[in-house]
């Protein structure tokens, strides 16, 4: 495994993924804000949460990139389309499995069964993240596919 390439392209992919999601927010496609969601696990302060979440998000990017790299090595294949395919699979997993169970994982997220409490006040994302905007799945899919494209296109399996 090429550790330097993993670090460089994992970081680059995360930068692009974050930029796509931030741009989607800016253009009114989604309210999905991953750094904010991650950060509020640790603090209720909006500003601090964004900063902590941003750092965690990059750490996550490297961890996920490691999984992508492991897949490239397992299949002996690292191409842009294979990276994109893994990205789409990951996005589908996030949208259909992870987001709906977020209220159970996140200590500050409210859920539809019990309503908000003093601690749990964050709006849950719902199935496919649709509570954060009807176009949320599209931006999540595109962002993850491009994350995979970058890793697949530039990571070299030796």
């Amino acid at each position: 495994m090429n550790w330097l390439q993993w670090l460089v392209w994992g970081f680059s992919g995360t930068v692009i993924l974050t930029s796509i999601l931030a741009a989607s927010q800016g253009f009114g496609m989604t309210r999905m804000n991953i750094p904010y969601l991650l950060g509020t696990i640790f603090t209720p302060s909006r500003d601090k949460a964004k900063l902590i979440g941003f750092l965690l998000h990059f750490a996550n990017g490297w961890i996920f990139a490691l999984i992508y790299v492991a897949m490239f090595h397992a299949f002996g294949l690292a191409t842009w389309w294979f990276g994109a395919l893994i990205g789409i699979i990951q996005a589908i997993f996030v949208l259909t499995m992870l987001l709906p169970i977020m209220p159970a994982l996140h200590p500050r997220m409210a859920n539809e069964q019990y309503g908000p409490t003093v601690v749990r006040q964050l709006e849950p994302p719902g199935f496919l993240g649709l509570h954060y905007g009807i176009r949320t799945p599209i931006s999540v899919l595109i962002a993850h596919a491009i994350f995979g494209v970058i890793l697949g296109a530039f990571y070299v399996v030796k």
Binding site: R46, G115, H131
Partner: protein, 611 residues
């Protein structure tokens, strides 16, 4: 309940330093724009009761209404009373300190309405009828389990929650959602409307948590008011006006919008309907005087920083208005689908005045900045900016413009514009003499200042009127002439100023305390311009007629509504409020005139004269 739509003075305001809502004395929110003052409306019934949208909470049976703000806050309390039964409606937008926001999740915007029943059981009607995009979109409202009712547009999401059961909400074809609640004596129910666009919404719980947010909100307003050092006459009115100004300031940038509304008419049924949800440079000097005069140095600093940021891109040319982030306001257009407030069409959004030429604003900005820096020396960049304004005025003061009243018919050589060009150069020369600014030809500025003085004294003085006229060479009476004394161009007790005031009294004062801005506005059957009454107060105080000044001031205060708010104008016949509401310029006038009266009473000169 009356079927007549509420009048302008029937409204009160609540806000969170980013947006504001107007609530009628019938318990209906008829105006709310989120997330900013100039965003499209969610509730716009004030401009069209049929399609604008509203959120009403009221008793089923008609009751006597009284309103007040909780002491030193912008938390509104409306009481509907009948015999021993009382229904108390408390409305506020949640605000708290940045420090408190570090310890808890806090919604981007939240409006809380708490209704409490005292002295017996009562039926309360709740009608929730949001219309997004200035009434164009009737949103589909979805139930989201225990998270309440949700609707949205794009990534804007609105959530309505209550600490009672919202299942009793019935979808009605024309009126959105409707509920009838039975409230037992001593019980209360709270509603929270929440807005989010930045990220996942924060949905604060109700019950005790809503009571805590009410306390935090009240505390925040009270802490802010406690920073004021005002001690003098008419304190109640000064405090209310300061609270209005704070409501109209956009906290993230420091800008202060002229009013939170658009197209409330200057003549009911007429077409003098403008969008005031922007910041006017004209208010700058007045605003800085006021904030400093009350001791709000941080707010004054925030405002001046906004001023410098906003003007940075266009200087040395200045725009008349900017949005809260210093950008060009929306292009003016008409909302044809709105019938207008009490039939006053058209309803406009955006403001074409931003493209006008108004030379007086240079004087306003220079005076505000000079006042702000006081005895300190402005930094290099600031000095450069001030020099540029001085040079611009030297090159352009002879040109006609649209003037401070933003007349759209033709350009004129307005006396007030000349005066403010004189102020620009006068204040810069003063600063130069004190060694606070360098790098320009003092002789050139002195020469131009003298030329402007000559122009005003020779051409703005009308022999026919025996008074200063609105513009050089004409014979129109205009209340802005009183500002010749305010800005120290001429002494208030001079013969010319006394004669000019007498002419204003004769032609522009329909009754004590009310002053039309000029003869054109009087002929157009507009109301009296409330700010002009405060100019007259100031003028009388400065020419040694303090008793008359108090009389005028007290007379105009009687035209405030039941919770102390002023619009832009006042109908001289009915006393009704006219124009956008509440109006920052008018409330600045309330405070400035009170400061002058206080200073004169204390035997000193008024604040601005010693600056």
């Amino acid at each position: 309940m009356s079927t007549e739509p509420p009048k302008i003075q029937d409204y009160a305001i609540i806000g969170d330093g980013r947006s504001a809502a107007l609530i009628s004395n019938r318990g209906s929110i008829d105006w709310l724009c989120w997330p900013r003052f100039d965003s499209p409306s969610i509730f716009g019934a004030i401009l069209d009761p049929e399609v604008g949208g509203s959120w009403s909470i009221r008793p089923e049976r008609e009751r006597k209404v009284s309103r007040r703000y909780l002491d030193n806050t912008n938390v509104l309390e409306t009481t509907f009373a009948c015999d021993s039964l009382k229904i108390v409606l408390t409305d506020f937008m949640s605000v708290t300190s940045e420090q408190n926001k570090q310890n808890r999740l806090w919604p981007e915007h939240e409006l809380v309405r708490q209704v409490r029943c005292e002295g017996g059981d009562a039926d309360v009607i709740v009608e929730f009828n949001p219309r997004l995009g200035y009434g164009r979109i009737a949103p589909k409202i979805d139930r989201v389990g225990k998270l309440g009712w949700r609707f949205g547009l794009g990534t804007h999401v609105y959530t309505l929650r209550a600490d009672g059961d919202l299942d009793c909400f019935k979808q009605s074809s024309s009126m959105g959602t409707l509920a009838k609640l039975r409230l037992k004596a001593g019980k209360s129910i709270a509603f929270s409307l929440n807005f989010s666009e930045e990220g996942p919404a924060v949905l604060p719980p109700l019950g005790n948590s809503a009571a805590e947010r009410l306390q935090l909100t009240s505390d925040w307003w009270r802490v802010w008011i406690a920073q004021s050092n005002y001690c003098g006459p008419y304190e109640r009115h000064v405090v209310r006006s300061a609270l209005v100004l704070k409501l109209l300031s956009y906290a993230p940038s420091g800008a202060i919008v002229a009013a939170p509304t658009t197209s409330l008419p200057e003549r009911v049924g007429g077409d003098l309907n403008w969008d005031y949800r922007f910041a006017w440079l004209r208010d700058a000097a007045f605003t800085v005087h006021t904030l400093f005069g009350l001791g709000y140095k941080d707010d004054a600093k925030a405002f001046v920083n906004w001023l410098l940021h906003a003007t940075n891109l266009t200087r040395p040319q200045l725009r008349v208005t900017y949005d809260v982030f210093g950008e060009r306001p929306l292009r003016e257009c008409e909302l044809q689908h709105f019938s207008g407030h009490r039939g006053s069409r058209p309803v406009r959004i955006g403001n074409a005045a931003s493209e006008q030429s108004q030379l007086d604003i240079y004087g306003e900005v220079v005076e505000a900045v000079c006042y702000f820096f006081g005895k300190e020396e402005p930094d290099h960049e600031m000095q450069k900016m001030l020099r540029q304004y001085g040079e611009y005025v030297c090159d352009h003061w002879t040109e006609p413009d649209n003037g401070m009243w933003e007349e759209r018919d033709k350009l004129r050589h307005y006396t007030h514009s000349r005066l403010m060009c004189w102020v620009t150069l006068d204040r810069l020369i003063e600063m130069h003499q004190c060694g606070r600014i360098r790098g320009f030809s003092i002789d050139k500025f002195r020469k131009q200042r003298a030329a402007i003085r000559r122009e005003i004294e020779e051409h703005a003085w009308s022999k026919k009127l025996g008074a200063y006229a609105q513009a050089c060479g004409d014979d129109v009476v205009d209340a802005s002439i009183l500002l010749l004394a305010y800005h120290r161009f001429e002494d208030a007790s001079s013969d010319r100023m006394q004669q000019s005031h007498a002419r204003i009294r004769q032609r522009l004062v329909p009754r004590l305390g009310l002053v039309h801005r000029n003869e054109q506005s009087k002929n157009r059957r507009e109301g009296a311009f409330a700010l002009c009454s405060f100019w007259e107060t100031d003028f009388l105080a400065h020419c040694g007629r303090a008793d008359e000044a108090h009389e005028v001031y007290e007379a105009v205060l009687t035209f405030a509504n039941d919770v102390g708010l002023f619009a832009e104008e006042i109908d001289p016949e009915t006393g009704d409020a006219l124009g956008n509401f509440p109006q920052a310029f008018t409330h600045l006038g309330v405070i400035n005139a009170a400061l002058t009266l206080r200073d004169i009473e204390e035997g000193g000169n008024s604040m601005r004269r010693t600056s």
